[in-house]
């Protein structure tokens, strides 16, 4: 009982001294703090931050939007009419869709990188930019589509015209007894770009 009492006293003092020794040692170890805006840590190459979309390569296949678990990517496309020059991707595939809208809402984005893997042309990727805070939440909605609204309207119009022509053709074909295989150049192309 008495022994325990003195043992307690001693262990109380001793363990405090041991702890004090450790903290005193740390007084002289170099600190780990980084003066952030002045000094920045170099991010590793795989770091995942803001997304970037290279619209020259984007074929509008919508796979990234479908992979996204938070639905922060919004894509609208208009099919090109024959004769339109949509351009080629960097690995030489011909594009078939006008991407009229490619919005990424970074207020929603969770940087999970799930959109990057399915992209067939590797045009959507994670960059190492992490300082993009905004005062207005709307400013976080990034618009990647390169077309101007006027151009978008034009593309929509021309596609609607094509559709109307096709419908007319179909109607004509239906009127005729003999079915004619209507050429549909866009469809197979879209499928080939999907897979």
């Amino acid at each position: 009982m008495i022994k325990q009492y003195f043992l307690n006293t001693w262990s109380g003092i001793w363990t405090v001294l041991v702890g004090m020794k450790i903290t005193f040692k740390h007084l002289f170890t170099p600190s780990v703090t980084i003066q952030y805006p002045d000094v920045k840590v170099e991010l590793p190459e795989r770091s995942r931050n803001r997304l970037y979309v290279n619209m020259d390569d984007c074929i509008g296949c919508d796979q990234c939007a479908r992979a996204c678990p938070v639905s922060c990517i919004e894509i609208e496309t208009v099919k090109s009419v024959p004769g339109d020059e949509v351009g080629k991707t960097s690995n030489g595939k011909k594009k078939a869709l006008w991407v009229t809208k490619f919005n990424i809402d970074f207020a929603k984005c969770c940087c999970c990188q799930l959109c990057v893997f399915p992209c067939p042309t590797e045009c959507i990727k994670m960059t190492s930019i992490y300082e993009f805070s905004e005062f207005e939440r709307d400013n976080l909605l990034y618009n990647f589509a390169t077309l101007t609204p006027a151009e978008v309207d034009e593309k929509k119009d021309s596609y609607a015209k094509l559709e109307a022509e096709k419908a007319a053709q179909k109607a004509a074909a239906a009127a005729e007894p003999k079915p004619v295989a209507a050429p549909a150049p866009e469809k197979p192309k879209e499928e080939s770009s999907n897979n």
Binding site: N8, S11, G12, W14, T15, V16, V18, G19, I22, T23, H26, V32, L43, P44, R46, S47, R48, A67, C68, P69, V70, C110, C111, C112, Q113, L114, F117, M126
Partner: protein
């Protein structure tokens, strides 16, 4: 005539320094003595289970990360194992090794937070920051591997998102060597400190029968003195290949199952995790990590329950599949949620300060409790 006294109801939380997030405790007090504790949950409820029903199987993984956000890798592993069981996928050996390394590193990281914040609850500020410095080093390893520090989306169904970085093995070995002396330092600074022992020993004693009846899992169960670790008792992945011990609470400074035992089990577990990591880093084979990734995750119809030993306890996923691309029902067995059920029982008749200590020692994460 005796003075008339009445009980005081004290609301602790949801904004309180040491309720580990947004837990609200309703304490019935008589002076400093706690008569009754009623936990109130749901402040962080974000419909994980409802979300899952609208997602495809791979899309659930980023959400799984956010359950126990201090141990996202472990959550991913559990979910991946569940889905692999459902789809009957065999993953390559290299993937298993990488998974084990990651999960064990994550276990150390999670325990460091648990120990550090426990110290903080008791009033020791400095060990908390030492723990966080070491944890940051682990997070840097993760960042090197998959690019994210907390919410990784790294372990996928049937594989991994990336292979290891070429430098990873060297850096991980360096980390293991760096970290070993730090456990001893933590012990000297905190674990064996007389004040700390006084505060935690004989406080919140959880008897083994009650722990099993409450289905307490993880370090809190082992603190009550039973060798029950799913890595040994129900081996998953490749844990049967490694040599490690399961620490149990021995009642060094008080009764078996007190706060100190629960705390110290975590300290020893970190050392055992280091052993596993060392072995895995030595044995890791070469190979492809993406070869077993399924093109389309469309499991057959059926129900499955799979579980792993998470840092907090037994995490399980109960998935009902109806054969479509989306899970029909995903039910989580969250260790923190179950461990928290025992809080009311443990806190009866202790002091206010002990409530904090007990809450810290059962180590909850509100992201998982509320889902």
């Amino acid at each position: 005539m005796a003075l008339k006294t009445e009980e005081m109801v004290l609301n602790m939380g949801p904004q309180h320094p040491s309720t580990h997030g947004v837990l609200r405790l309703e304490l019935e007090l008589e002076g400093e003595l706690v008569l009754n504790v009623r936990p109130h949950l749901g402040y962080l409820h974000r419909c994980f289970e409802k979300h899952c029903e609208a997602m495809t199987y791979p899309q659930v993984i980023p959400y799984v990360d956010r359950l126990d956000y201090l141990a996202a890798m472990s959550n991913e592993l559990t979910y991946a194992i569940t889905c692999e069981k459902l789809m009957n996928i065999q993953v390559p050996e290299r993937v298993e090794y990488i998974r084990v390394i990651m999960v064990e590193l994550q276990r150390i990281a999670s325990h460091l937070v648990a120990l550090g914040t426990f110290g903080l609850d008791i009033g020791a500020f400095t060990p908390f920051l030492y723990c966080f410095i070491d944890r940051e080093k682990i997070l840097s390893l993760f960042e090197l591997t998959c690019g994210a520090r907390m919410l990784y989306n790294y372990i996928w169904i049937g594989g991994l998102s990336h292979d290891l970085h070429p430098d990873f093995i060297r850096l991980a070995k360096e980390f293991v060597q760096y970290f070993k002396p730090h456990v001893a330092e933590l012990n000297n600074l905190l674990s064996y400190n007389k004040i700390f022992i006084e505060r935690t020993a004989n406080v919140g004693v959880l008897p083994l029968e009650a722990a099993i009846n409450y289905n307490i899992t993880g370090p809190s169960l082992r603190g009550s003195g039973i060798k029950w670790d799913l890595r040994k008792n129900d081996p998953y992945s490749i844990y049967d290949k490694f040599d490690f011990d399961i620490p149990v609470g021995k009642g060094t400074f008080g009764q078996v199952g007190d706060c100190w035992d629960r705390y110290f089990v975590r300290v020893v577990e970190m050392e055992q995790s280091l052993r596993i990591i060392e072995q895995a880093l030595e044995q890791i084979p070469e190979g492809d990590v993406t070869s077993a990734l399924p093109k389309r995750v469309k499991p057959p119809e059926g129900t499955v329950y799979a579980r792993t030993e998470n840092p907090k306890g037994e995490l399980g996923f109960f998935i009902v599949s109806n054969g479509s691309l989306n899970p029909y029902r995903v039910k989580v067995k969250p260790p923190s949620f179950v461990n928290l059920t025992v809080l009311g029982e443990l806190c009866k008749g202790c002091f206010i300060s002990d409530v904090i200590a007990i809450l810290g020692s059962i180590d909850i994460v509100m992201g998982e409790v509320d889902r």
